[in-house]
């Protein structure tokens, strides 16, 4: 759906994006992470043809950008750095204006029907599958109105009536921005910080909405610095730092085990002795009831058997996994921070996706 090759953008002497190779597959819920000022927004703007790349190539929906913008963009919904609306008009009037501003026709290449995938969460009733969400070209005035109704209901803004956007709260504007992005039933959603300004309920609703959309075959490119958000919803993620790609992989793979196991037991001394006797095992931090064990090639279950056979009362044995925050902080530097000496040099971590040949 999105592929960039050596994408580079310089603003004067500043290299904002430096040789970025992104790969977003169809159906991905793709997280795009990076510290502030790492080139996330510039990248999003280049994907949408707002900012022109200094060098490198971009393909969106299999077509070059920005050259094929006329064919590509009608199938892309986006939210870039917060929503933008005419403050003196109502939300509905704003959506109608944006709807009318662009090409009226259907997408030139109607997408192939997506394989039905299970939608997580409680099964939705028939009522939440309004007819106009079918991927059809609808642009008679009545259908346009209905489409706006549908999309407003979908983001929880039904019944805002004729109030001008000026009177909206930040959260309502954010929802309206999402509604605008969804209006044309896009195949690809490019969202930059979509939950900005939303309360926890709103964030949850947006997350559920994204998962639902992805379940229906919409590809979502989600740029965010809310790590928890990405960790909760995304299937794949890329991390950028100072314009460079530092990791790109499935989220599960990014969050692979650290090689540490935490053992909780009242018999701490016996456990330590038994564990240390295993080949390649180093003992880590030790507390009165908990022991960290670095396994080097030893399987956690082997450790467990050894402990149990040795009479240790194992209360808990946890294979430690990093949070996305740990991974993020390890791979990136904050703006202006000194380079981390412990950062491994070498090529960025590239994922081996099981469902992608090669």
């Amino acid at each position: 759906m999105i592929r960039t090759e050596g994408l580079t953008k310089r603003f004067g002497g500043l290299v904002a994006v430096d040789g970025l190779d992104l790969e977003v597959h169809e159906g991905d819920l793709f997280g795009f992470l990076g510290p502030n000022g790492s080139g996330k927004t510039t990248t999003v703007r280049m994907l949408l043809g707002l900012v022109f790349a200094t060098s490198g190539g971009i393909e969106v929906l299999g077509r070059p950008m920005p050259r094929a913008a006329r064919e590509v963009l009608p199938q892309v919904g986006s939210l870039v750095e917060g929503p933008g609306f005419y403050p003196h008009l109502s939300g509905r009037a704003n959506l109608a204006l944006f709807d009318a501003a662009g090409p009226p026709g259907p997408a030139p290449n109607p997408p192939s029907p997506h394989p039905a995938r299970p939608v997580p969460g409680p099964p939705e009733g028939e009522r939440s599958r309004p007819r106009s969400w079918a991927r059809t070209a609808v642009h008679s005035p009545r259908q346009r109105r209905r489409r706006i109704d549908d999309v407003l209901a979908r983001v929880g803004l039904e019944g805002v009536g004729r109030r001008p956007v000026r009177a909206y709260s930040t959260g309502m504007r954010q929802r309206l921005g999402l509604a605008a992005a969804l209006l044309r039933t896009p195949r690809l959603l490019v969202l930059d910080e979509p939950t900005n300004g939303l309360d926890p309920h709103g964030m949850r609703e947006v997350r559920d909405l994204l998962v639902e959309l992805a379940g229906n075959g919409t590809t979502v490119f989600l740029s965010s610095h809310l790590l928890a958000e990405i960790e909760l919803v995304c299937t794949r993620a890329a991390i950028v730092d100072r314009g460079r790609l530092v990791a790109q992989d499935r989220v599960e793979a990014l969050l692979g085990p650290t090689g540490r196991v935490l053992v909780t037991t009242p018999d701490i001394a016996v456990a330590a002795d038994l564990a240390a006797a295993l080949p390649g095992v180093r003992l880590g931090e030790r507390r009165p009831d908990r022991l960290a064990v670095h396994l080097d090639g030893t399987a956690p279950e082997a450790l467990n058997r050894r402990l149990v056979d040795g009479g240790v009362r194992v209360r808990e044995l946890v294979v430690e996994r990093p949070t996305l925050e740990d991974v993020f902080l390890r791979l990136t530097r904050g703006p202006g921070a000194a380079p981390r000496p412990d950062r491994p040099a070498g090529p960025p971590r590239q994922g081996r996706d099981p469902d992608v040949p090669g």
Binding site: F11, L97, A100, A101
Partner: protein
Amino acid sequence: MFLVELRKLVTRPRTWVTIALLAGLPTLVAVLLRVTGVGPRPGQGPAFLSQVLNNGALFPAAALALVLPVFLPVAVAVLAGDSVAGEASTGTLRYLLVRPVGRTRLLVAKLAVTIVFVFLAVLVVAAVAFAVGAWLFGVKPLPSVSGQTIAAQDATWRTAVTVAYAAWSMLGVAAVALFASTVTDSPLAAALGALAALVTSQVLDLLDAAAAVKPYLPTHYWLAFVDLFRTPVLWHDVSRGFAVQAVYIAVFLGAAWANFATKDIKS
């Protein structure tokens, strides 16, 4: 896209307030003239005003002469300056462009709407002035500036050409403001930039030392439409005015397009 822009123009209260103010100034002048009966002496004050007391039919031209030097250019500069920079500052520009609306298309629509506004404003001013003039001063056959009488039919086309000339002059202002609007993301800066250019031009026009450049200044021929009310019509300045504006319009629209089409949209 043009229709969308037009809808934005007419749904905006500011548009109508501006036009009401534009029509209000000549009306105020007319009421003052009528109440006091004190007109400027012939040859002084704004064009035509001295004759208006005797004949309301001349008031549309007088009204245009009143608003053309300052009021109308300010309104046009604000509107055209707002066209792209205003979208940038509300954050709507990026959403229009990714909708997608082609950049050239957007610029052309903005320009077309500005033209609509200019014509609307000039026509409303002329129409209101005619109504007010006829009501307060009565309509007689026009005496031309040269002394002979102008027939009613004749007066109609002269007024029509006056309206077209004023609109064309304002289009020059719009082109400069539109260019400024593609350079900055601040609508205020764009409008001020365009106005600064006009003020510079008007100051130079008063300066004898700038005599060499005067014929090429954008504001130099603005009031040349007075010549349309002479018999026979003095076409020289009017046609020069049309030509000079055409050059300014072409150059600044070209610059606006070249700048906007290749610009990184970071707003």
